[in-house]
Symmetry: none
Subunit: 209 residues, 4 copies
């Protein structure tokens, strides 16, 4: 088990404070619009100190994306690992907790979304891929749940990959809407959206074979 000295723990804490400040600034201004001076100001660490922790602006951006990506991945994994309930309940739980997390980590989702697109991709090419990798992994885990649900006869036997795609479409889009409108989450509305996802909109449910 790794045991960090007080000094090392202190160092790690500072590093994370800087990254949190950076996240906030990048989310508001974008990569090029953000300035090192503003990151210094928001983080309350002097400019010179920031350069002790990171090589430069680009590296801060990379690390910031990566670390929050890892955090996001962990959340999802934890939600899914709690498999002591049925696939339907698991999906319902994912839906709610994911949206909850999305609102809490507003800034990260702003970044996440801008990075899924090609914007700034020339400057930070690998980030694009790593975001997509996370997204794909997330969808694979979700697909596993759907797989299990189909096996248990709870879900229709659609392609699991596409079920995951529709699910995350609705989840992310809802997070996006909530972020953009600066609204708080309304339970009823979320229930409706989830119901539409689960039941579909068509009266005549075609049976799958």
């Amino acid at each position: 088990m790794e045991q960090l000295s007080r000094k090392e723990r202190e160092k790690k804490r500072k590093r994370e404070e800087i990254l949190t400040a950076a996240l906030s600034v990048f989310a508001q201004k974008g990569y090029h619009g953000a300035t090192m001076a503003e990151i210094s100001q928001v983080s309350e660490y002097p400019l010179g100190t920031i350069y002790k922790f990171f090589q430069g602006k680009e590296q801060i951006y990379h690390e910031m994306i990566r670390e929050t990506g890892v955090a996001l991945g962990d959340i999802l994994l934890n939600i899914i690992e709690n498999d002591d309930c049925s696939p339907i309940d698991q999906i319902k739980k994912c839906f709610n907790e994911y949206i909850q997390y999305g609102i809490e980590k507003r800034d990260y989702f702003l970044i996440y979304n801008s990075q899924r697109s090609s914007i700034d991709a020339v400057l930070v090419p690998n980030i694009n891929k790593s975001i997509n990798k996370l997204h794909n992994k997330m969808n694979e885990l979700l697909a596993d749940i759907f797989e299990k649900g189909i096996e248990q006869g709870q879900f229709k036997s659609h392609s699991t990959a596409e079920m995951a795609h529709v699910f995350s479409s609705v989840v992310f889009s809802t997070i996006w809407m909530l972020i953009g409108e600066h609204e708080s989450v309304e339970t009823e509305r979320l229930d409706n959206l989830f119901a539409i996802f689960m039941e579909g909109i068509c009266v005549e449910c075609t049976t799958h074979t």
Copy 2:
């Protein structure tokens, strides 16, 4: 009927060529990352010439967003106005054509998406609103189709606003995926996604009253 002189047509064409180049550059680099020099290079118009058509970088960005926004709105309107078919067919048509258009206008969707978020919003605040206004209008028109479908007994009586939300979530997310993966559209996959949206994923379809 307005008849533009050759000179005026020429001028309009140049303007549009510059905007197209700008769209491409902004989509790849974002507002701050894009440089006037690159827009000049891509458009193959010298810097000075660009400044004959536009006041500056910011105006180019505004106009570019606005013009493509108008074009996008027009497409949607045309699709919906072809109401010589049932709501289901109309929605199916919207789904396909929208995705088709999304792939064609790849660059615009990159911009559109980045603008729906708050990134760069401080610098171009009204754009944010105008994008959302378009998005809302689009959803309202879709909601009308769902409304009609419910009246005709083709759709379950969910909240129409949220049906529109789920629909556009799936559509945009799919466009997004196709853009990101640089894939060409696979008809079968799209059909699956549309089926999931229409039928839902749950085996037991609860009846709505």
Copy 3:
């Protein structure tokens, strides 16, 4: 006697109109602040046409200074050549007419003054000298009048060069004041200034030998 053809007269007239417009623009904005576009607009001659008459901005500036300098010189010469009156009257006449002319040719004096200094001198080095040459010539002609006045016992026997210097100091400074304050000339005030120049301010007039 030179006889210009209609075409040549036309050409000369256009040239002078451009120079007049240039004078006005340079006087308001300075050499660097003035733009060719503005000279084109004020003169109501197209940009391309101006370049048929002059090699460029700098040449326009040179010619403008030179031509108005010649005109100024001619005025002074004419005033002095009317030597059918006493030196005192001649000086009085010079004083009044010079100030009159200064107000009429406001723009020229703005240029004249800025050129006597070293401002823009690096860019148009010879102009500086030519302005001073005119100024010196003017003072020499004035000195001749003072010389005559001394011989006729009307003026005290000061150094004539310095009498001319004091005279033109007061004249130019007054023109300057009138230009700056946008005031119209008040006869009484000018009389006072002239009286001070003629009589001095000291009660005990020391006799010169």
Copy 4:
């Protein structure tokens, strides 16, 4: 008494060095003709450093005018405040010291003169007024001396405002001449000019009542 820290003194010194360099460049090239690059080169401070002290070119110009204007005002005030001598001696002293100062502060007088005119006035409108305000204040202070001199029977009872005008005309014009001709001051010549101002040029001194 305010005691500046070493750092603050250093900062002030740098600021003044930049302003001195700017004064020199503006005096030679005018506002528009001067470039930030040249100010950087002359001051031997890099461009970026200059922008730490000033917001931009225009502010440098303003501050430069203002600061030297204050300095000029102070000199004049000090000269006049030494009122332990007769008005005649005071005026004589003003005359000499003013000219002395004018030669020392050559660059400032070039600026001062160009600013009294309308050249560049559109761009820096308030400067024009502030220069004139200083000029007016200067003349008022001089007028006070003349007032006292008239009361003491040393000066003729001309209008004091116009006595001040003639005085400063001769002083400034002389400074101007010395600056333009790059000559050093010749005491005899200055004495002559002062004598002409004091005694007038006319043989018959009309008595004032």
